[in-house]
Subunit: 359 residues, 2 copies
């Protein structure tokens, strides 16, 4: 067993070496930890700010053994960690946080919504389908238009189709590969919001102010935080976050995406058992950002303060938008965060800027 | 020649991989740069947050060639970089910033004070001595008690002796190794202050609010910033910083240590052509800290804002004081910065904490 709180000088393993792993690694280094990254990419962005990197598939047994030998505990930057990898790490005896229940729930959209509803967090109506016939029936159940999503994988709008009429469901089902899907009723939401929250080893919780989020083509474009909303809506969001964290016996930072409906009621869209793009504003808007908070939580340290010290507009830099660095660098109110990715493919998250104003 | 402003994705070399190099590396990574460290230590603190580390003496020609091959430009975390190393890098054609004049002046206490006085920055009275006889005469010139310091090397109170009477100067001279020294008149100062300032490639300048500093046994113990002082004193400090930066045709961040005399007049104690321990408060007290500011300056980016957004008490963690991390981690107002050093030798700078309050 790992001695907690984890002492500075210890090594923390991270599955995944993208921008989230990179920002986690930087936050961990500030607290005196060393980082080892496991990522199939031989030159992942996080590897260049970490003590070690192991280039191997996530489920490579020897790589997992090397990771376990180097690290006192392991966390991850993305929810689609193979279940076998986590089982292997558990078998070796190295702790993985957040734990297996969070991964199980987050990896399957049907499990996720079922868990949410069972824990008092409302969602849109939904139904699952394993066949084309079930897909048609599911659209009839939830009502058209409905959003068909693969139960597993898929991010940034990938792996989903709108179905306008039940009769089109079989074609959409085939287009998504004939894999198990979930059908979701359309949410006539007013705004997309999110809440970033953390739970420590001792069950203590900390929630950040909500962010208002704007997506384009399924990809987050910008967040504004703290979002303006009623005290009632804020309390509802915090209650939802607390129920999810407790229900998952969670350790670490979680991102909860919300729909604000007409009248102010909140539905949960989805959860991400990790640091979250809509929490990047905390890097310049809070004394302890979501990355340090996650490291504090998994390392068994006390959680840090979460109140806003500034108002932030976070703008994702997608693809060649990163070429705007010269302009952003010259804006006094703009903090530049670039991820060190070699190639600016269209839609790829290359960095973000936080435009900071007084509260 | 390196294209400036330096584009993200480029590599910056740093001579020295201690805590200053580490915090520079982290700041550079945030702007999308890769870092290569040159340090004789095979496992320097900065190496574990950098893309590459070259373990070799600073004046190793092959190591310098490898550094120059990897990096678009080179900077340093300490002023005692061997002149030969900088000459070698210049010969290869890789730019070093801050430039050779700053190093020449900062490496020799007599050159330094001579430069300061020539540029309108007052210091205590001083005289140089190359022999025991000259040392006695120098004490008679500046008046006893006088502080004898080796002209070169020495930091954190090392390489210096108080001389109470001129007759004792020959013994002190021998104790310091018989090397060239400088004698300084005692400064009956009220407070020790410092100003951290930056100058960009285009000659633009930015100065941070002053810090009030407290030393113990020649080692910085704590800084409080912004220091409370009169507008006149602040203007004098800013004028001094500007004259030094201009006089050195400086690029990067500089630390200027000041004595505040009775009545408020400021004398310069010494300058450090690098990021400075008394500027660590900027990590939590300013939107752009001294580390990012230095990277911006040497990379030819516009300088960032320097106004305080909070009031900070910075406390150095020396030796086993770093074991207090559990307590500091539990203080909501305290930000923890640990350097990843393996061994907590007495007096060694292991980390610092910034205690943050509203302005």
């Amino acid at each position: 067993m790992t001695d907690l709180p984890l002492a500075p000088g210890s090594t923390i393993g991270i599955l995944g070496g993208g921008q989230l792993g990179r920002m986690l690694a930087v936050a961990a280094s500030r607290l005196g930890f060393d980082i080892v990254i496991l990522d199939p990419d031989p030159d992942p962005p996080a590897g260049r700010v970490s003590a070690h990197a192991i280039p191997a598939p996530y489920d490579d047994p020897r790589a997992l053994e090397a990771l376990a030998a180097a690290a006192s505990l392991v966390t991850y930057e993305f929810e689609n960690v193979p279940a076998g990898a986590v089982a292997k790490l558990a078998e070796i005896g190295v702790e993985v946080a957040p734990g297996p229940l969070a991964l199980k729930v987050a990896q399957d959209r049907w499990e996720e919504k079922t868990f949410l509803n069972a824990n008092g967090a409302a969602t849109v109506a939904f139904a699952k389908a394993d066949t084309a016939e079930e897909a048609v029936a599911a659209v009839e159940t939830v009502g058209a238009p409905a959003l068909m999503k693969t139960r597993r994988e898929g991010y940034d709008g990938k792996g989903q189709r709108w179905v306008e009429h039940a009769a089109e469901a079989d074609r959409a089902f085939a287009e998504l590969g004939g894999v198990p899907v979930i059908l979701e009723a359309a949410a006539a939401f007013e705004r997309e919001l999110s809440i970033i929250a953390a739970r420590g080893r001792d069950g203590s919780m900390a929630v950040y102010p909500l962010a208002e989020n704007h997506h384009e083509n399924g990809i987050l474009r910008r967040s504004i935080a703290p979002a303006r909303l009623s005290p009632q809506a804020r309390e509802q969001a915090e209650r939802i976050a607390a129920r999810i964290l407790t229900g998952l016996d969670y350790v670490g930072v979680i991102g909860v995406e919300l729909f604000e409906m007409a009248g102010g009621n909140l539905l949960v869209n989805e959860i991400a058992p990790r640091v979250h793009n809509t929490g990047h504003w905390t890097m310049d808007g809070c004394a302890v950002d979501q990355f340090e908070q996650h490291i504090r939580a998994v390392a068994g340290w006390p959680l840090g303060p979460t109140h806003a010290i500034a108002r932030v507009e976070m703008l994702n830099l997608l693809g060649d938008e990163v070429d705007g660095w010269r302009r952003f660098a010259g804006e006094p109110e703009t903090r530049v965060h670039l991820y060190g990715k070699r190639e600016a493919k269209p839609g790829r998250k290359m960095g973000h800027v936080n435009r900071v104003k007084a509260l």
